[in-house]
Amino acid sequence: MHIVVVGLSHKTAPIEIREKLAVPESRMGEALTRLCSYQGVREGILLSTCNRVEVYAVVDEIESGYGRIQDFLADAHLSLSSEQLTPHLYWHEGDRAISHLFRVASSLDSMIVGESQILGQIKEAFEVALTHKATGIILNKVVKKAISVAKRVRTETKIAEMAVSVSYAAVELAKKIFSDLSQKTVLLVGAGEMAKLAARHFIANGVRHVRVTTRNPQHALELADRFSGTAVAFEEFLEDMASADIVLVSTGAAHYLVSEDDVQRSVKQRMNRPMFLIDISVPRNIDPAVRHVDNAFLFDIDDLKTRVEQNRGERLNEAEKAERMVVDEVGIVRQWLQSLEVTPTIVALRARVDDIKQAELDKTLGRLANLSALERELVEAMASSIVNKLIHNTMVTLKAEVNSSEGAAFVEAARRFFSLGDPAVCNVNESASSSSGTCHSSQADLREVGEVTPRTGSKMPDH
């Protein structure tokens, strides 16, 4: 059993490809069922947002698993072959797959590091997977852990503040161009999370006129409604740009939407009234050459981040701190995964019962000092026999189920019934208090997963 991830994101694939692979919510269930019907795929979860399409799965074999998932992704769109996808995909397994999920959940892999939308999207994907019984004990544990890691990152670092601060920095810059924002008009191009957040900040700072344009006209209408603004047709927004004092651009387009000439023309139409352009897109949607246009002030996400760093006057890199947390947490999950291996569990079980037996024997034999050697042997034999019979079925079942889809659940159950804990940690648990913290936390996590366990596994298709 191996955890793998196969997918593509804004870092590896242009929007044209991402759009084709995106799975609409209505077809999510069907897709998950199809994913789990592939041979060797035991558990699966599908994350599909405008910036990434990723499949996390538990597979029997890494190489064949990669192949199956790639086929699955290619099947999503008729015009795409599996080979065409290859240059845009990334494949990770084991720790790297877990680490990838943690980084994605913590928004470290996002276009705008620290934005919060992705965590909600992961929760939704997980809900859908649970509903369709596509995940089992392993992914349940790992995804839950990813969510808790993301929360830890958000509370213990200032990474989330970054996204808010970027909006704040944009408003603050605007105030150095326009003294009174209440008379100004904001044009929102695209519906990126950051741009919406920034638009809300502008409105909170007095901006009353909002114009919205997105590729999808319906979406623009909804957004315009939310901001009490006006929707503008996407094809016409360049002509409309002159009416905007502040232009916020955040689309998924892989090319420049706004050129130097467009801005030059707008500034001219505005009779040289200054324009403030904010490009929160990655890759950029406004040609950086716009910087050369007089009375147009272009700032991109890096400029805003620089401003934020200066505002804070703090040298510590929050993203780096978050990355370290991810590494720590991956270590904890790795230990737990190791505990799910059957052999170490059997060894631990054996050791555990032997310890109990020995302790009880010592206690009893200490009181029966006048026993003969034979009698002592008989008592010891009886103790061994009771213990062996008690654990016999457990051992046999564990060995038998090792390769079934429920293997992990059995191991988990055995570990909990016999209080086996983590093999690597619990040996030192009683003697070394320093490591007990790690053990406790993983125990707590196991309990958390236990709540989900009963509804999983049993109905996984296993061909």
Binding site: K176, I177, F178, S179, P274
Partner: protein, 267 residues
């Protein structure tokens, strides 16, 4: 007494200039209050000096460049204090107070008694006052333009330093620029008209195309074009800033020319 207060004023303005310039580079806001206090005290002292000087003025006294420049400096600070009082724009002091100081030092360098233009009428006082008020407008526009270009440059190059944080919004500066010219231009126009009337009385001709009159007219036409350009074809923002800086340089050159002609080797 006037002379004493004049020296006190100069000393205070000098200290305020140093303090205001330091304020530009220093993140703290404390210096602004110190600078402001010195400027206000200097202004009070200057008012007394000017008032004391006025006592001796009779109909036949003629206003010289000493008085004109001193008056210019006084109005400049008055306008600054008014704007500061309304908008709390400390940083304006860092630009205006040095200008007022330079004007005052120039005044000090010139003799208090003017070379007599014969015959002189009361209109000359009106001419000098109006011209100087107009010039104050252009001076403020110049300062606003200068601040605009600095802030524009800082924003474009994304250098968010102390100066950036202290300078006001670009459109505020552009508005200040416009208001100053809109106010200064009619005053200069009246100044030129009264000047022409004075010339008519003193020399018998409204206009005899001497260099200072020519320059004054060129300046007038220049600001007229700047003002019209702003109102009709959008000469605002950066272009307006450049134009008002050039315009004010022209004004200064005119003044220097006139002063040299009256007092210096030129005449």
């Amino acid at each position: 007494m006037a002379a004493m207060f004049f020296v006190v004023t100069m000393t205070l303005y000098f200290a305020a200039t140093v303090s205001f310039l330091a304020y530009l580079l220093w993140p703290s806001e404390v210096l602004s209050n110190v600078s402001l206090g010195m400027t206000a005290t200097g202004f009070a002292s200057h008012t007394i000096a000017l008032g004391a000087g006025m006592i001796g003025v009779t109909d036949v006294s003629t206003p010289g460049f000493h008085q004109a420049l001193s008056f210019f400096s006084w109005v400049l600070i008055l306008v600054f204090l008014a704007v500061e009082f309304r908008h709390r724009l400390h940083v304006l002091g860092s630009f205006i107070v040095p200008l007022a100081l330079v004007s005052l030092v120039s005044a000090a360098a010139l003799p208090e008694t003017a070379p007599t233009l014969t015959p002189v009428f009361r209109t000359l006082w009106v001419h000098v006052t109006l011209s100087m008020l107009g010039t104050v407008g252009f001076a403020i526009a110049f300062v606003a333009g200068l601040m605009y270009l600095i802030q524009d440059g800082l924003l474009k190059s994304k250098r968010f330093n102390v100066l950036y944080s202290k300078l006001p919004a670009l459109d505020y500066l552009d508005h200040l620029n416009q208001q100053s010219i809109v106010t200064g231009f009619p005053l200069l126009t009246l100044g030129i008209i009264t000047g022409a009337l004075s010339a008519e009385f003193s020399r018998g001709s409204y206009l005899n195309w001497n260099p200072e009159q020519t320059w004054a007219l060129v300046t007038w036409v220049f600001y007229f074009v700047v003002l019209m350009g702003r109102l009709t074809v959008g000469w605002r923002a950066k272009r307006a800033a450049y134009l008002t800086i050039i315009g004010f340089a022209g004004v200064i050159l005119t003044l220097i020319g006139v002063v040299l002609k009256s007092h210096g080797p030129v005449s």
